[in-house]
Amino acid sequence: MDTVLTRSANKVSVKSILELKNLGKYFGGIRAVDGVDLSIREGELHCLIGPNGAGKSTIFKMIMGVYEPSVGSVYFEGKDITKKKNWERADMGLSIKMQIPGVFGELSVYDNMRIATQKHTKLAKMDEEITKLLDLMDVRHLKNEIVNNLSHGQQQWLEIAMSLACKPRLLLLDEPAAGMGPEETEFTAQLVRKLNKEGITILFIDHDMDFVRQIAQKVTVLHFGQKFAEGTISEIESNEEVVQIYLGNG
């Protein structure tokens, strides 16, 4: 546990946008998340990694309020949001792209975008905004397609576009590049970097270490629902224990 000290300790002056304190979630006999403390600073590009079942997606769901934590609390911009409703969190500037695409499969791309956009943009400017976001994702030509007919990658981009339509300050991406080919992954990586540059704090989960390496400034490793290590990508990759648990030489 006491492997890599977080570097955030050096930069206390930087405001943290999200803080998890002793967060835990238990399902029956399984402790999916077990007392995690995590702090994300504003403007950061932060990655959560860990083996399957380490509790990453569960943490995301607790941040968004989909799951109620069994213990602990979630702070966003200094406010305790543990008891806040999901939509209140979304209005505060939290947005998510889920692991299993959270798109509306039976509706068209435009309809999907509209649902996400209209809440946060004036109707007059909506179409403009939608076009802008679809262009950003390079899926504008699919505007009238039914979402179920899209490829997995296209659905992922659509969902990222939808979560951006909520004008988030903290964006949670759960495996944004899963199932994408090399060019697509590259495109997604550029996209994530670009968004981060534009001032959106991003916390993401991914398995593809190439991808993580390309974009993450900081990495937190989860194992068995607990925080196992935290640090820069090179610190993490040079950490023998992390490599062990991640690749499972144990």
Binding site: G102, F104, S108, N144, S151, H152, C166
Partner: protein, 352 residues
């Protein structure tokens, strides 16, 4: 649905033709037929109310009949106590509002409490039967509101027709009055389909939990939609009550509660036009069977429903729309060639 322009498709053409047809209908038929059709039309609002809350927003309710009855009773008690015919339009409006308000309260109780899906159906079913049970036993003279006895199982009769000043809405006037409201509500609901509110409702239907994460206060929207549905069902009840000057607890009964669900499901729940057409067709069909005096009427109706659900589960009217769309409009509307190319691409990187 992604532009506000009216698209050329079967649904819209049928919708327009239907309203033109309904508009000229009285020119060709007897006053009885007109009266009869006004009855069917007043029941259409009930179906539309369910198509709205279930078809649009995914709220499965057995309780539309309850609001139907509440509307009818409320209008009856209010207007009969006041007894001034000029008051009847106010009674109509207040009745609709009361129906909506009660639905809002019930919706608040359910949706903010996290009751959803089939459980909404069960609560509303219980509520409907409670109302029937309660109203059925109000035959005693102690059950009076103002001057008006609730009348128990026999219900209330002599309910006044709506009149504007001395202008009474009877016969053909009543018909056009209903047709006018129908047109307004129909256009309103169709517009809702492309409005911000409608999109939210559809999002809630498709994936309630995800919609919350886009920042929508889902219980609030559900409650609002449920209230509008309650208001529409009330409107239906009031129109029905004025049509027959009559309302009874059987409008709360198990049969009455299930019928809208059956009609909307069989027509195709996601489509307002389908519900309107199918409701009129069903009432006409079942009335004709009844008038024939045939003892097989109910058997045939039952069989029809089973066949529809087995072979055209998306709803028979919707299936017809789609079929005609394919047949007629697919040639007119260009099939994007991109799509094929995209398909290829899709296969290229599709992964689970």
């Amino acid at each position: 649905m992604n532009t506000s322009k009216i698209k050329l498709n079967t649904e819209n053409i049928v919708g327009i033709v239907m309203f033109i047809g309904l508009f000229v209908y009285p020119l060709f038929v007897s006053s009885y037929q007109v009266l009869n059709l006004s009855y069917f039309l007043s029941m259409v609002f009930l179906s539309m109310s369910l198509a709205l809350i279930w078809g649009f927003c995914g709220i499965f309710s057995f309780g539309q009949a309850a609001f139907f009855g509440i509307g009818g009773y409320f209008y009856a008690i209010l207007t009969m106590n006041i007894g001034i015919s000029a008051f009847t339009p106010v009674g109509l409006i207040v009745g609709v509002l009361v129906g909506a308000a009660i639905a809002w309260v019930l919706g608040y109780f359910m949706f903010y409490g996290g009751v959803n899906d089939v459980f909404v159906g069960l609560i509303t079913l219980c509520l409907t039967v409670v109302l029937e049970t309660f109203m059925g036993q109000t035959a005693g003279s102690e059950w009076k509101i103002g001057e008006i006895g609730l009348g128990g199982f026999n219900g209330i009769d002599g309910i006044p027709t709506i009149s504007f000043g001395s202008f009474m809405l009877t016969g053909i006037n009543f018909y056009y009055f209903i047709l006018f409201i129908l047109l307004v509500v129909y256009v309103g609901l169709r517009y809702l389909g492309i409005s911000k509110f409608g999109y939210t409702a559809i999002a809630i239907r498709e994936n309630r939990e995800r919609t919350k994460l886009f920042g929508y206060n889902v219980p609030k929207y559900q409650t609002t939609i449920f209230a509008i549905g309650g208001g529409l069902a009330s409107l239906s009840g009031i129109l029905y009550a004025t049509w027959g000057s009559y309302i009874t607890p059987s409008s709360f009964g198990l049969t009455a509660a299930t019928l809208p669900v059956v009609l909307v499901a069989a027509a195709g729940r996601k489509n307002i036009t389908a519900s309107v057409i199918f409701t009129i067709a069903y009432y006409w069909f079942s009335q004709s069977l009844s008038a024939s005096g045939s003892e097989y009427a109910l058997v045939i109706l039952g069989l029809g429903l089973v066949l529809v659900i087995l072979f055209v589960p998306e709803g028979i009217v919707v299936a017809l729309f789609k079929w005609i769309d394919q047949l007629v409009f697919s040639r007119i509307r260009k099939k994007p060639t991109i799509k094929l190319k995209e398909k290829e691409k899709v296969h290229g990187h599709s992964i689970n």
